[in-house]
Amino acid sequence: MPFRLLKFGLEKEYSEPRMFRSPAELRDSYDVVIIGGGAHGLAAAHYLAAEHGIHDVAVLEQRYIGHGGTGRNTAIIRSNYLTEEGARFYQFSVDLYRDLARSLDFNLFYSERGHFTLAHTPASLRTQRWRAEVNKHLGIDSEVVGPEFIKKKIPEIDLNCGGHQPPIVGALFHPPGAIARHDAVAWAYARGADQGGAEIHQRTTVSDIEVVDGRVAGVHTDRGFIKTRKVISAVAGWTTSIQRMVGLRTPLVVHPLQAMVTEPFKPWLDAIVVSASLHTYVSQSSRGELVTGASLDPYELISMRSTLDFAEGLAGHMLDLFPFLGDVKVLRQWAGLCDMTPDFSPIMGTTPIEGFYIDAGWGTWGFKASPVCGYTMAHTVATGEDHPLIRAFNVSRFGAFDLVGEKGAASVGH
């Protein structure tokens, strides 16, 4: 039995301290204000303190930490991206993730399961090969595998999809593909940020950002004005309202993305299974639930309501892959917001507004990038220069048309 458990059992009073403080007062100035208490913002606060000695930081969260994309995604972590910039960036994130539970001393249930992106058509297989070749070139463990291999690793799968879909002709197999407990990532970073001196202010809404002569001067909130010269916006699906406050233009459009989860079952599915053609992905959580999602809702909308046709379509595709799940019951469906960029890569780093740093464009791929985003955004704020890993993601690329095309690596079609 781990020593920690022994301690719980033997102590008289429960001795676990608060994960993070809940400061009653919002001070009137901070060196850095981070808008958004998701995994990205909290990670940035953590790395600002841990890597750069910047401790005078406030994280402002309109609801509770992890309320946005952090707590709504399907928790898949991988680095099998299509572009060199993307693959290197996400690989760095995976490297951080692998050590994160240790370094933050919080079990994130980081579980490497192997990630299959199924191809049902020659066209889809071509894209998977492209990704595999780029990955291999960069030292990322990816390969194109045939139907026999898939069947061996996932014996329950119906390669013919019951005749409802084109048969599975191969897959991109990415052995390090992992899942993790998403809320825990936010909590662990929150604790790290708090220990590093950052203040986490939940239920605090930003109403405006003061910009004077092209540089950030402060942040207006529903709890008063904060003087600061540096602001990180890490609000993903809410970015379009923040960018308006500083007059920044981005090509972001917001779409809802839905997901659902079944009742918990004993373990049977180890792999993470994605079918781009069927717009479906599924994994089984440590709790035993099947966590499953599909493509974006096809319209722009800032709303987190659920739709029935989503559940119907996804259920159908789940049964195409795993026909024996007809009696398995769906417990819950939910939705999140995706701030989509035209090239399916994020928008990160410095902006034309001095002191305004953006971490946005997280579409459907934000959770897996949480550590690297915090790390590189902290570097960027501390040094004033975009971290080399995110240079390609600067907002200026849209004006210059230096796009980083990751559409082919998005988990499902969009």
Partner: protein, 968 residues
């Protein structure tokens, strides 16, 4: 069936149908009309399951579909809900999530170590050393999870249907019945949904002694069933309420989707547990569960009961129990003054000891923990704390809990109804609701039966008025109840025994205190950390008490504490019902039967079946494809191109629309001519190509790619509407058949079949003509996609097969042969034509793809033009080129998307490859960096095994560089 009572008036069981079933290896008998759990209870089986974490014995708690600890598997299916699923003869059931059976569950030791496993303990251990976590995770996964998936189950399909109504009434209790009647009588079409097997709601189990109520019950049901305007569906659950009153219903067989004009929600309230020591033991249940056992299933809950009370319903329970022959050993009433109504007197008169201002401190288990032997009742201090030292043990084998209710709010919240905490009721009540949603009865805090009925009537009529079926506007008369039926804090600390708040997730009071101490102090964080409310019942018996606990810990009000968001589904629903019959219709061209009869190997091209090639006896696939291509080069071939997108663009602004959507110029294009056209998205990326033929000044025929036409047509409609152009668009893809007759003899073959003058002067390359082919009105274009003289013939779909066969007959002298998509791909590759989406990707702009020639100069505007201007000024980063291998090359060839490597860098990729061509060498297309684009440049392509395949850049096209063949 030792606990079965004599026949009860209105009981739901059918004593003439005795059903035999098995549970945990023992054989039992029940009746038709029983749910599984009631049948077990009737046989004296109190332990129905083991708890999720500690594997504690558990039994019936709500008997209303919220009991996570009465879930069974029959070996084939799992997660069968014992407290709602009807008993069926021959069932062979086991409790889920036991290790070695229910009685001897090997994991019952876990509880001994519960001190070592506080809330969220798993976040704090097992991660160091990291290499051990996979081992730990494996164990955790085995223990977590309830039932086992059965991968051998066959695929099932269930039908779906649609329904509509003016007024949907959810809940068939007193308020719902009245609402359905009131709405139905206005002429509105009403759909009444009841989750239980029969109508009545609480009338069926809570008002058994009230003769007047029972008479009214009978009359109401009769009236509803007699009313033609009302359709009644029992044993049907409303699973979710979506936007615009789109409601999903689920029964045992199917999902129905309803679009309702208005919805009256009368779903009642869910009785809530009290939290005290060992409040989870089998034998502890809600008062309403005890009443359901007696009234619906004629089953005695226990012999001697202690009742924990905080409202008048509890006294109704006591009287019902007395009537059923249960000895009520004591009532512990949380209220200092007890029950003020006449019910209190009645119970006291029956000799039941009533302890006002008392609580149950602890349930005391029998030796094997499978049931109870007593309850410790102790007085409450003024501050609500329990004085456990003054507790007395009262012998009993059952404890019923009637301390409060929570509106059955899940669906209401989904529908947009907002709730707030009502101090007079000490519970949540609706405070605002969207248009078209009405709430009636107990869900809005109406506890008096007569008031519920009046309220139902008013809300039903108001809903009918909302839909326009009733002229008279109704203002509901009934206010919510003025006395509290819920105790503000029925939660009592215990010094040693666990006191459970969430029975699904095995969470006890200390877990909440600890989680709060760690900073999980908002309702959402608490939920995510502790997992409260995330189990199979989605917190229907836990969330209210969790909110009360958190509010107290925070020193906040319930409203300040807030509640979690309710999401579909109300109760879990099968994937199979959601999926339905899974229709995936595939499209076939009119020539499909011919292809099939001629050994076509089909593949899925989007929604279409297309022949990949035609099989030949003893001939390998590659050789078949090669022969087909060769036949086109030397003689005559025909391909079915019916899947091509075919769009008709007519009207005064037709040319304007095309000028704006495509890069090329069409204003001056002569009638009778077509040209290749490329469309971009706003970022300048190539998204579509095809040809645009001018049939008249204001009439165009446009082809689009098979896979892209659907999306592009939508885009056309969108732009036409945005720009307000006077143009008519129609997508004729499926209405027209099309074939391409290609090869040096195609003119000769076609001449005999058509009245169109095919001479090169009259009908040159890039010409389009309308006329007759094989007696059928046709549109003919002179095309050259495969690099030979060719004619594309478009005819009405129903005549496609006829034209196809006529052309085959006419082509006989030249050995005409059908060719498939693979041969076409080879031929176009030889001719240097790209395929959008194959040789281009999500970022390819025309300058990279060699499509600069398709961009009209000096155009005022087209979609993507601004982006192209930026691209033009920049250095192009890659270009699409031809690549070839030497004649007779025998080494390894790449596959599409293998990378081109130079000095260890990725400098390009193969987009298309033909290992065998009619030109005698392997060739393909590739993206390379611009400095490598010069023909003759050596390139190295990395193969799967890491070996390099050496090729060189070649000028495009490979075949017929001077375009002599297609211009014949």
């Amino acid at each position: 069936m030792k606990q079965r009572l004599a026949a009860q008036p209105g009981e739901w069981i059918d004593r003439t149908q005795e059903l035999e079933f098995r549970f945990e290896g023992e054989t039992y008998k029940g009746y038709a009309g029983d749910v599984i759990a009631s049948a077990l209870w009737a046989n004296g089986v109190q332990m129905t399951g083991r708890s999720f974490k500690y594997h504690r014995p558990r039994g019936i708690y709500s008997l209303a579909g919220h009991d996570a600890n009465a879930m069974f598997s029959d070996g084939t299916h799992t997660h069968l809900r014992g407290d709602s699923l009807p008993l069926v003869a021959g069932m062979d059931l086991r409790a889920v999530n036991t290790f070695g059976g229910l009685k001897g569950d090997k994991l019952n030791w876990v509880e001994l170590f519960s001190r070592f496993m506080p809330v969220g303990f798993y976040y704090k251990v097992f991660h160091r050393p990291a290499w051990l976590f996979p081992f730990h995770e494996k164990q955790i996964r085995k223990i977590a999870g309830l039932g086992e998936i059965n991968p051998a189950l066959p695929s099932t399909t269930s039908p779906k249907d649609y329904a509509w109504c003016d007024v949907l009434v959810v809940g068939g209790g007193a308020a719902g019945l009245e609402a359905a009647l009131a709405a139905g009588r206005t002429g509105a079409r009403v759909l009444l949904i009841e989750q239980q097997a029969r109508l009545g709601g609480s009338l069926a189990w809570q008002h058994g002694r009230d003769e007047e109520a029972q008479r009214a019950y009978g009359t109401l049901v009769e009236a509803v069933l007699a009313l033609e305007a009302v359709e009644v569906r029992c044993a049907t659950m409303v699973g979710g309420h979506y936007a615009d009153h789109w409601v999903a219903l689920f029964d045992a067989d199917r999902m129905s989707k309803v679009r309702a004009g208005a919805v009256v929600y009368a779903p009642g309230a869910i009785e809530q547990p009290a939290v005290f020591g060992h409040n989870d033991l089998p034998g502890v249940m809600l008062g309403s569960a005890a009443q359901r056992l007696v009234r619906l299933y004629a089953t005695k809950p226990c012999e001697r009961m202690v009742l924990l009370a905080a409202n008048s319903q509890a006294y109704g329970v006591a009287l019902d129990m007395l009537e059923a022959g249960v000895e009520v050993a004591a009532i512990a009433d949380l209220r200092p003054d007890g029950e003020p109504s006449v019910l209190g007197e009645e119970v006291a008169a029956a000799g039941v000891p009533i302890h006002c201002g008392h609580a149950v401190y602890e349930a005391v288990a029998k030796g094997d923990k499978s049931g109870l032997r007593g309850a410790v009742v102790a007085p409450l201090r003024d501050d609500g704390e329990i004085e456990s030292s003054r507790g007395q043990l009262i012998a009993c084998d059952g404890i019923a809990v009637s301390v409060g209710w929570m509106p059955n709010a899940a669906l209401l919240s989904q529908a947009g109804v907002k709730f707030a905490y009502e101090q007079t009721l000490q519970q949540l009540a609706p405070v605002s609701k969207p248009d078209g949603i009405f709430v009636a009865g107990r869900a809005r805090g109406t506890y008096d039966l007569d008031a519920q009925r009046i309220d139902g009537r008013d809300q039903g009529a108001a809903a009918a008025y909302y839909t326009g079926r009733e002229d008279k506007q109704i203002s509901p008369r009934v206010e919510s109840c003025k006395t509290a039926h819920s105790h503000p804090y029925p939660i009592f600390a215990h010094s040693g025994k666990k006191n459970f708040v969430d029975f699904d997730e095995d969470l006890h009071l200390t877990d909440f205190v600890n989680a709060h101490q760690e900073g999980y102090d908002s309702v959402e964080l608490l939920k995510r950390y502790s997992t409260v409310g995330m189990g199979p019942s989605q917190g229907k018996l836990a969330n209210m008490n969790a909110m009360r606990i958190l509010a107290k810990l925070n020193g906040d009000t319930i409203d300040e504490t807030g509640s979690t968001t309710s999401r579909p589904f109300y109760q879990p629903v099968p994937l199979g019902h959601l999926a339905g019959r899974r229709f995936h219709p595939m499209r076939q061209t009119p020539m499909h039967a011919w292809h099939a009869a001629h050994d076509a190997e089909f593949y899925h091209a989007g929604d279409w079946y297309r022949p990949e090639y035609y099989r030949r006896a003893n001939t390998h696939r590659d050789e078949c494809i090669f022969q087909e291509a060769q036949q086109v080069r030397t003689g005559l071939g025909v391909i079915d191109v019916g899947t091509l997108g075919k769009l008709l663009i007519n009207g005064p602004d037709a040319v304007e629309l095309l000028e704006r959507l495509y890069t090329g110029r069409f204003k001056k294009r002569a009638v009778g001519r077509y040209r290749y056209a490329v469309a971009l998205d706003e970022s300048g990326v190539v998204i579509e190509d095809g040809v645009i033929a001018r049939l008249a000044e204001d009439r165009f025929y446009v082809t689009a790619t098979s896979s892209g036409v659907g999306a592009f047509y939508r885009e056309m409609l969108r732009w036409a509407a945005i720009w307000g152009l006077d143009v008519t668009l129609s997508n004729a893809t499926g209405q027209l058949a099309a074939l391409n007759l290609a090869g040096p003899h195609s003119r000769e073959a076609l001449t005999a079949l058509t009245d169109i003058d095919l001479s090169p002067e009259a009908f040159p390359y890039l010409g389009v003509r309308e006329g007759e082919v094989a007696g059928v009105r046709a549109l003919v274009m002179r095309v050259g996609f495969v690099g030979e003289l060719g004619y594309e013939v478009h005819v009405p779909a129903w005549q496609g097969a006829h034209v196809w066969q006529s052309i085959f007959a006419a082509g006989e002298p030249w050995g005409v042969r059908a060719f498939g998509v693979e041969a076409q791909r080879l031929l176009r590759l030889e001719k240097g034509h790209l395929i959008v989406g194959h040789d281009t990707d999500a970022l390819t702009h025309p300058y990279e793809a060699g499509l600069a020639g398709a961009i009209g100069k000096n155009k005022p505007f087209f979609v993507g033009q601004r982006s192209l201007q930026i691209y033009r000024k920049r250095e192009t980063k890659r270009v699409l080129v031809g690549v070839r291998w030497p004649d007779g090359f025998k080494g390894g060839l790449p596959e599409e998307c293998h990378l081109i490597i130079k000095d260890g860098r990725m400098v390009g990729r193969i987009t298309s490859i033909a290992p065998v061509s009619t030109l005698g060498y392997a060739l393909g297309m590739a993206f390379v960096e611009p400095d490598m684009a010069e023909p003759g440049t050596r390139i190295e392509v990395r193969l799967d095994d890491g070996a390099m395949s050496v090729a060189e850049v070649a000028a495009l096209p490979f075949y017929d560089r001077d375009d002599e063949r297609q211009g014949l």
